[in-house]
């Protein structure tokens, strides 16, 4: 697998023709947006001034007109930029992923299946709307892996506010084969209760969580501080979470600025990183040639695929074939 600096080289050297082509499109889109924005603004002001003769500024009708304008601007922005986003994924992200490992396939519009997401047991709420994109599937060093952006939501109905949508999870979801056999379920979540209420009360609150399996107390104090582990087999949980594995997970969490949830179910590791944003959505406001922008894409990809290396899932030390 290529290193970050090799990938940055690849990004600027190999992808340069495609990048400059996209940059041209981006500039065109920007001037188009400025033109539409300016025109739209003027039209909006004229309408408001004209309507202001008959209605007060904060009259519901005026607010309705303003919201309509905002909605319309959103639709216009999407339609102008969607082609650019699609182009970016085909011309930049696809070759970048093949450069990392030729065994990986990228489908911009697909996502990891809802079955796998639910199998992880990480989120217990039922899901009413499931979407995602930027799906990558393949194998790294012989380890089958797949990941994508996922947005899982549920809805609640309230007599006052009507139907409301709530985000259960938004971010990166990855599933890979684990290098040890196991039959049990082990769930690792960020330790919010102990952090907020301290060891004693927090620990008690966790053990009272009836919707989860039993809390498993592990013999790594630092790991215990960061995470809470639920599982239905205390021996297998420790078989999976060896001292080395706990250290690796801690190291991985330290590098991330987002909450990390991990589960081990049916011989697979499920990793959910709540980034709260899409992976590879280019913004037309920033140039793709800018270093920070380029590094963001390269880093995201390299670190995601690097999970396999980082957690040493590619080590075939065991009798598992």
């Amino acid at each position: 697998m290529k290193s970050i600096s090799e990938l940055t080289d690849f990004y600027y050297k190999e992808l340069y023709p495609a990048l400059s082509e996209l940059e041209e499109t981006r500039n065109k889109i920007l001037s188009k947006l400025k033109w539409y924005g300016g025109m739209g603004g003027v039209v909006f002001l004229l309408i408001i001034i004209w309507l202001h003769k008959n209605f007060a500024l904060f009259h519901p009708f005026m607010i309705g007109i303003a919201s309509g304008f905002v909605l319309l601007s959103g639709i216009v922005y999407r339609s102008i930029t969607s082609h650019y986003a699609q182009d970016f994924k085909v011309k930049i992200i696809t070759p970048l992923i093949s450069a990392i490992d030729t065994n990986l396939r990228y489908s911009p519009d697909a996502m990891i299946s809802q079955y796998l997401f639910e199998r992880s047991n990480l989120f217990q709420h039922s899901i009413d709307r499931y979407s995602g994109n930027d799906y990558v599937k393949g194998s790294i060093d012989g380890v089958p892996v797949e990941f994508s952006d996922v947005h899982a939501e549920y809805q609640t109905t309230n007599s006052k506010r009507g139907t409301e949508w709530h985000t259960l999870f938004r971010g990166l979801f990855l599933v890979a084969e684990f290098n040890k056999y196991f039959k049990s379920k082990t769930i690792i979540l960020p330790d919010i209760a102990e952090k907020t209420f301290g060891n004693l009360i927090g620990g008690w609150l966790q053990s009272m969580n009836v919707s989860r399996d039993k809390v498993i107390q592990l013999d790594d104090p630092e790991f215990e501080k960061r995470f809470v582990v639920y599982g239905n087999d205390p021996i297998e949980a420790r078989y999976i979470l060896s001292h080395a594995m706990m250290q690796r997970l801690l190291e991985f969490q330290r590098k991330l600025s987002y909450p990390l949830c991990i589960s081990f179910v049916q011989n697979h590791i499920h990793v959910a990183i709540a980034t709260e944003k899409d992976l590879f959505e280019p913004t037309v406001l920033k140039s793709l040639l800018g270093y920070s922008q380029a590094m963001e894409y390269v880093n995201t990809l390299r670190n995601t695929i690097g999970i396999i290396e980082e957690l040493k899932l590619n080590e075939k030390l065991w009798s598992k074939e």
Partner: protein, 186 residues
């Protein structure tokens, strides 16, 4: 009169809860020890096969091999207490560790795919044993704490619960088992 009954009720409830939690902890220890026993047995099953395969190559390590076989047969004896099993397990782990280290000196041995497969299986079992030991130690610590801490210590005294022995976790075990390194030396 009413306060008296309330106090009595609360005290009875606390006693029942303490009793049940102690029994729960004691059973958890037994339960996990059964798990430890299963993986230890897996290792016992593997040992004769391993010894027979490496014997031909490891002329100079006859004494270690004999010791492993001997330890295995004494560990297999029926009617052993948990504490005795714990002590024997530590010896066996050490002896098996010295075999894998001694293997470094036998390139022929490492070229043998069957033996390497056996070693991989042994490593896996060792890792499982290590996990089982850690689980057992946690359960025993929970029980021992309850036996020593107030007020459960009074109840534990009446129930005649005894402190249990922990498995010793060696420094070597805390490190990651790395068979890859073993292969790289060949």
């Amino acid at each position: 009169m009413v306060p008296f009954f309330i106090t009595l009720g609360v005290l009875t409830l606390i006693t029942i809860l303490m009793y049940n939690s102690l029994i729960g902890k004691k059973n958890q220890v037994d339960n996990i020890f059964a798990g430890v026993d299963t993986v230890l047995k897996k290792r016992f099953d593997l040992i004769p096969n391993l010894v027979a395969s490496v014997e031909r190559y490891m002329e100079h390590e006859k004494s270690i091999l004999e010791k492993v076989t001997e330890l295995r047969s004494s560990a297999m004896k029926p009617g052993m207490s948990n504490d005795q099993k714990v002590a024997l397990d530590a010896k066996l782990t050490n002896a098996l560790g010295s075999i894998t280290i001694a293997m470094e000196n036998y390139p022929d041995l490492k070229a043998n795919e069957n033996i390497m497969q056996l070693i991989r299986t042994l490593n896996e079992i060792e890792e499982q044993i290590s996990a089982a030991r850690r689980a057992y130690n946690q359960a025993v610590t929970d029980l021992n704490n309850a036996i020593e801490m107030f007020p459960t210590n009074i109840m534990a005294g009446w129930m005649q619960l005894q402190r249990k022995v922990l498995f010793e976790i060696t420094v070597k075990e805390r490190q990651n088992v790395n068979v890859q390194e073993l292969f790289n030396h060949s």
